[in-house]
């Protein structure tokens, strides 16, 4: 007969491998979200009206549909329909990244809009084009301002990544479930998974806070 403690001891290395998967999914989708969200934010602030509308639709789509629905829609529906053979892991990053891009675009849009108008004018007046001013003056400031919002996005994504277990991604939650259903030690295993998520949230937001303090623009409240 195995005690809760011995089960935990034996399964911990297996669970910790899941932490890596979780982290790759989270960091992958966070990066994808930034990569897509940044141009979306710029387009939504400076773009022509039709572009703003299209971006608005995109954001509405990914913010309006539950994560689980999107995961199933893409994994079982859209990608097979397009004859694209993506692994559950890849689909998890694509879907989480797309959702995150919608949220991140709004974080960044707010940050861009909070930069005083004079910055753009000052940049234009010393000979920078619109695009140069955005790249050299607006975005370096906006990205700094976006870090607190970004840290929130990280913790949301981290927890949302647990849902990808439904596609069979071997992340932390999936592994906890796997062990629990075989050993019947549900309490201790889910407690342990939850605890690890808490630690990951804590470490991540701490790191981003430290980054924020380091690069923060002085003179802004």
């Amino acid at each position: 007969m195995s005690t809760p403690f011995s089960v935990l001891q034996q399964s911990l290395p297996y669970l910790l491998q899941g932490v890596w998967v979780t982290l790759v999914v989270v960091l992958g989708s966070l990066s994808l979200g930034l990569l897509v969200g940044l141009p979306l934010a710029v387009g939504q602030v400076y773009g022509p009206r039709p572009l703003k509308r299209i971006i608005g639709l995109y954001v509405w789509f990914f913010r309006g549909i539950p994560l689980l629905v999107l995961l199933f829609l893409f994994y079982f529906g859209l990608f097979p329909f397009l004859h694209l053979d993506f692994s559950a892991f890849t689909v998890a990053i694509i879907v989480l990244g797309s959702i995150s891009s919608a949220y991140q675009s709004q974080i960044l849009r707010g940050a861009i809009l909070s930069i005083p108008e004079g910055q753009m004018k000052a940049a234009r007046a010393i000979g920078m084009s619109d695009a140069q001013a955005i790249v050299h003056i607006i975005l370096p400031q906006a990205l700094r301002l976006a870090i607190p919002g970004w840290s929130n996005e990280y913790s949301v994504l981290l927890k949302d990544s647990a849902v990808t277990y439904a596609l069979g991604v071997a992340e932390l939650m999936a592994r906890a479930h796997h062990v629990a259903s075989r050993t019947y030690q549900h309490l201790v295993l889910y407690l342990c998974a939850g605890f690890i998520f808490m630690i990951l949230t804590f470490l991540g937001t701490r790191a981003l806070n430290a980054l924020h303090r380091k690069v923060k623009l002085k003179g802004y409240s």
């Binding site: 004079g118 007046a125 010393i126 920078m128 084009s129 370096p140 802004y220």
Partner: protein, 373 residues
């Protein structure tokens, strides 16, 4: 053809006309200043010249280049026009040196460095290159902003209330210093402000904008001594108006007797006019012929200034050579100084838009005591 030519320019926000058929010119090397209350359209005009505001009508040319037209708008970064803002608008993520050298990115590295050092020396900010904007004072930030604007050698420098955020004692000092810098570099500049002290300290030519129209565009002394309209008179210096009525085209009867006047329009005799008197025109003098009661007194650096009430009930400003002002309610005697050549400036009472409220804080704010011209 002047260097900067603003020809018949109109600007609108939606249906509201912010600038109406405004024309003004500036010669090369001249410093112009537009004065006006908030909302008079002065900043809009500056934005239009900088290229951030499309025109409904008219043209703007600089040198021999057409910058703005109803259907043609050179983008701001291709205008070679420098801008200095009220809130400095330095780039907070860049050092002082980087702020200045950003506008020089087309130059090779060593020339860039040399020019940056040169303009920073010009504004006396050498040694501060590695500081960040938040690490220096407001006055220093504005110096850096001036250096940043001058670095790419603009054809025209626009200054939007550049000294308004600085404390008053620093304001005129920095304004005078900026004038020297601009003159030394032979820079053509146009500034807007609501502070006449700044305007008179800096400008070769001052204009007063009122309701989107340029009421007068003239040398500072002419603006002060011969205001074209009542609004200009009110806005520049401290003014009091003595009511009277015309007895001929060149004289008006008032409670101070018949006074010679000059005015642009010809009106029938008997019509009411307001005669502009500046505080130094009415002087406290024990032997003076006019008797009045002090309503309020202000102690200023040059002596006392009174708001007095004549026996006729007219209220006017007067100056006193006495060091300490008499208390309110005292009876004083006054003398009217001889009129300026051509007579006292006078304005019709019919179209007058605003009643000057003596010692109204909003007006007093714009008027410094004493008026130094």
């Amino acid at each position: 053809m002047s260097f900067l030519n603003v020809q018949n320019v109109s600007c609108r926000y939606g249906n509201r006309c912010v600038i109406r058929h405004l024309s003004m010119t500036l010669e090369k090397g001249e410093i112009g200043c537009l004065l006006g209350r908030s909302g008079c359209g002065k900043s809009t005009l500056l934005r239009a010249i900088a290229g951030f505001e499309p025109l409904r009508d008219g043209t703007i040319t600089l040198g021999d280049r057409l910058l703005s037209h109803r259907t043609h708008l050179v983008p701001p970064h291709k205008r070679q026009i420098g801008l200095v803002f009220q809130d400095y608008a330095l780039f907070p993520h860049l050092t002082v040196a980087a702020n200045v050298s950003f506008g020089l990115r087309h130059l090779p590295r060593n020339q860039r460095k040399a020019r940056t050092a040169e303009v920073l020396r010009l504004v006396r900010m050498e040694g501060m290159e590695e500081r960040y904007p938040h690490e220096i004072s407001g006055g220093q930030q504005q110096r850096v902003a001036v250096a940043r604007a001058l670095a790419p050698r603009p054809m025209l420098l626009l200054l939007d209330e550049p000294f308004s955020n600085l404390d008053p004692c620093l304001r005129v000092d920095l304004a005078l210093e900026v004038r020297e810098i601009l003159k030394k570099q032979d820079i053509t500049a146009l500034m807007v402000t609501h502070d006449q002290g700044e305007a008179f300290a800096v400008a070769d030519r001052v204009g007063v904008l009122d309701g989107g129209e340029l009421a007068q565009w003239d040398e500072p002394t002419r603006l002060f001594l011969d205001p074209a309209t009542r609004t200009v008179a009110e806005f520049v210096g401290v003014s009091s108006f003595l009511p009277g009525h015309l007895i001929s085209s060149k004289a008006a009867a008032t409670s101070l007797g018949v006074l010679p006047i000059r005015r642009q329009s010809t009106s029938p005799a008997g019509e009411g006019v307001d005669i502009l008197l500046r505080p130094p025109d009415l002087v406290q003098d024990p032997a003076g012929p006019v008797s009045a009661v002090v309503v309020r007194s202000v102690l200023s650096a040059a002596g006392s200034m009174y708001l007095v009430e004549l026996d006729s009930g007219d209220r006017l400003y007067a100056v006193s050579p006495e060091r300490f002002p008499r208390p309110a309610g005292s009876r004083v005697r006054l003398r009217l100084e001889p009129p300026p050549p051509g007579g006292w400036p006078a304005y019709g009472t019919d179209g007058h838009d605003r009643e000057t409220c003596p010692f109204d804080p909003t007006i007093a704010k714009n008027k410094e005591f004493p008026v130094a011209v």
